[in-house]
Amino acid sequence: MATETPARIEPDYPKDRTKLGGGRGGGRKGSIGALGWVRWTWRQLTSMRTALALLLLLAVAAIPGSIFPQRGVDPSRVRTYLEEHPDAGPWLDKIGMFDVYASPWFASIYLLLMISLVGCILPRMRQHVQAMRAQPPRVPSRLTRMPTRAETVLDAPAQDVVAAARAELAGRRYRVRPEEDGALVVSAEKGYLKETGNLLFHLAILGVIVSVAAGHLFGWRGEIILKEGETFTTGAASFDTLSLGPLVDPDRIPVYSLRLDDLDVQFEHEAQGAQFGQPRVFAGDATVQRGDDAPETRAFAVNKPLHVAGTSVFLLGNGYAPVVTVRDTDGEILFSDAVTFLPQDNNYASEGVIKVPAASPGLGFVGGFLPTLEFVEGLGPTSSFPGLVAPALVLTAFEGDLFPEGRAQSVFSIETDSMTQLQQEDGEPLRLLLEPGDVIELPGDRGTIEMETVIRWGGLLVRHDPGRTPALVFGGLALLGLVLMLGVKRRRLFVRVTPAGPAGTGEHPGDGARHTGLTVAGLPKGTDPGLDDLVDQVLARIVSASGGRVVTDKDDT
């Protein structure tokens, strides 16, 4: 393989675009000129080597996003990280380590890659269209230079051998170059789908990127926590959080109401070890009503989203909402509602607050809900299992101004700065432990607090993503293109028949028609280990189809 023979089908397009057109010489000798620079830059950018460098760079650039917490994925973890790393955090933030996939440097890599891709496939598409229409090239004058070659001598008329060769190659669905009558060569090519697949793959990748971008621009997502029995109506104002794509009109969010009828959550209680307490069932029923349509109750679950009016409703989170009633000393109800507690660990030890502004002064309860209460030495009450085995509320209470200066605040926290903690008779801070059905009297004639029962809440994600289906279609096309590109072999086969001539003229001088030379040669594109076998096979088939007998060397001597 050390010779300079062409070892493969040289592509119609220039492989090394950086060396096109005599380097940078755009204008006069010595000066490059503005146009020359543009051309040179374009060639550099669209060269395969640059594409490869950009690909490797993209892989490296994507990695920090898996190491550092990302705002787009989990903003609270980014806040925690910044608090824990006051030195490195802001510095990392400045170079975009918490928004890797939205950072300018990441974007510049994939935009350059896209430009490089377009610059590469556009000329190749033109070339490929031409190649699809063109006939295979002429048979080279010397087949001995081909990387794969087989030859034999047989006792059949030369024209019969040529006809057999044409029939054999046509039968293998090769494109056979038309030759004038009496030509003793056959040139054939197959595997145009390889390049078609290549172009399809790269175009489809562009399609995927465009679809993702469209989904980002025109899509939106809203999150809401719904307690069992609660109903909410979609709309820009009704979600707990709503993120709209830059080009979304919030008034065009479809309106429907959704009631969470029931939520079924179960946890592993048989297997031990790390599997103990893992979630096993997570499903629910919801009643959906849209416009004047009749309400419709549908089951949904994790992995089984609801599809309503072009949106999908996903069940993503869940937790407990103890139903708490606070009464004053006369038994008048000051507060009665299911209160959402947010799980903090895998055993659903949850945190939450109960705000009773109707009491005067305002009462606020802060604490935890534990689905399976267990006292651990040193830690106090904890939860040992995420299911409702021994549910309990552990609370302390504050008294004072619940909403200082009327500021809006989270339903999951209380600003206790302007409040005083209630105390037990012994002077210790008040601690309450409530189990379902318990009614506890608050010290100092402040009334009672009762936990009636516990219901569940579900965290719902409502999402509209118009880029979803196009992305899937383009993804499928990319896969198809990839399989064609890697699976189909582009091959050229050349056949030369050497008629037996008068002594001294042919390759096999001698006795008339009995020594017809037959050479089959193959030229692959890229790696093609099967080509040797194919050439041998084609040769054997031509021999048997032309009805000739192979003349062995012994016949000659």
Partner: protein, 324 residues
């Protein structure tokens, strides 16, 4: 729902497979050493004979011309290689049976946690190698495949073992079977690809130095190894592409978005890009086959990182390792 007897039987089979694979590795290594030194001594003698008798260098040394007694020039024995192969077949059977029993014990596809994923990937790598070895002479490759599989299985059994149990709801989807089966299959293929790539890089370096000796002589020529490496990767890459896409489809159903830069998604993407770079590098002028193959090795390193560091140390939605 969970059958502890079947789960225990599965565990015994996996332990058994680990022992058998260790023996197979030993046999394959012996095979490489013996075949290599055998070829080497024959080659050396051929030169001597050629010089002495002035015969063509292409012919095998003819018996009468060999001055040494015949037992000093045996054809390299394939015995140890064949023993290694048979042991590998046995281990393949044990791993496949262990995986199936594990599945039966929990009445679901054995794809729910890191341990089961390792079983599946090992089973695929072994099955692919076994089938390949039935069709072609691949004794020389045995050690390269058995070693990584042995490491994966050993690590899985020692550190990633998870008691047989049911799935968490996020995993309970038909796409689990599709996505993870194809993922394990492509990891199996990439493992063999990396084994071939390593073999190529070692052999190629020796060839470049003109110093192919010892067990290296038992390997096929560098160019053939390189072609096989590429051949495996063009199977594995579309499968990995499908892994990525089916994962996106599933993520859309389970988490409400098809792509969210979860650490596991990111690494799947990184692996995809690195292997895409390998395929591009091979077709790029100015990039030698050696350098391209290093990119493929980097891709496998990413797979290993994705499977170990990302699974165990990085918090994300894919936290299904089941390892406490």
């Amino acid at each position: 729902m969970t059958d502890p007897t079947l789960a225990a039987a599965s565990d015994y089979l996996i332990w058994g497979a680990i022992i058998v694979l260790a023996l197979a590795l030993l046999a394959f290594s012996l095979h490489l050493a013996l075949t290599g030194s055998g070829r080497q001594s024959r080659a050396e003698r051929k030169v001597l004979v050629g010089a002495g008798a002035g015969t063509s260098a292409t012919g095998e040394p003819a018996a009468p011309e060999v001055p040494e007694p015949a037992e000093e020039a045996p054809a390299p024995s394939r015995r140890w290689g064949v023993i290694g192969l048979q042991l590998t077949w046995l281990a393949t059977f044990a791993v496949v049976a262990g995986t199936v029993l594990r599945a039966l014990s929990v009445s679901r596809a054995p794809l729910g946690n890191m341990y089961e994923f390792a079983l599946m990937a090992s089973a695929f790598a072994l099955v692919i190698y076994s089938i390949w070895s039935l069709r072609r002479d691949r004794l020389w490759l045995g050690a390269f495949v058995v070693l990584p599989v042995l490491i994966i299985l050993g690590a899985a059994r020692l550190w990633w073992y998870t008691e047989a149990s049911q799935l968490m709801p996020a995993l309970d989807n038909i796409w689990l079977v599709i996505h993870v089966t194809v993922a394990t299959l492509s990891v199996g293929l990439f493992t063999i690809g990396a084994a071939l790539a390593t073999a190529y890089l070692i052999k190629d370096r020796a060839e470049a130095r003109g110093d192919v000796r010892g067990w290296l002589a038992a390997l096929p020529a560098g160019q053939a190894l390189e072609r096989m490496t590429y051949g495996i990767h063009i199977f594995a890459f579309p499968l990995w592409t499908f892994t990525l896409m089916s994962g996106a489809i599933w993520a859309e159903q389970a988490w409400g978005r098809y792509w969210g830069w979860d650490p596991k998604e990111t690494w799947t993407f990184v692996i995809w890009v690195v292997y895409a770079a390998y395929l591009h590098a091979r077709a790029t002028t100015g990039w030698s086959a050696r350098r391209s193959t290093w990119v493929a090795i980097a891709g496998f390193a990413c797979i290993v990182l994705n499977y170990t560091v990302v699974n165990l140390l990085i918090t994300g939605l894919h936290s299904y390792s089941g390892v406490a």
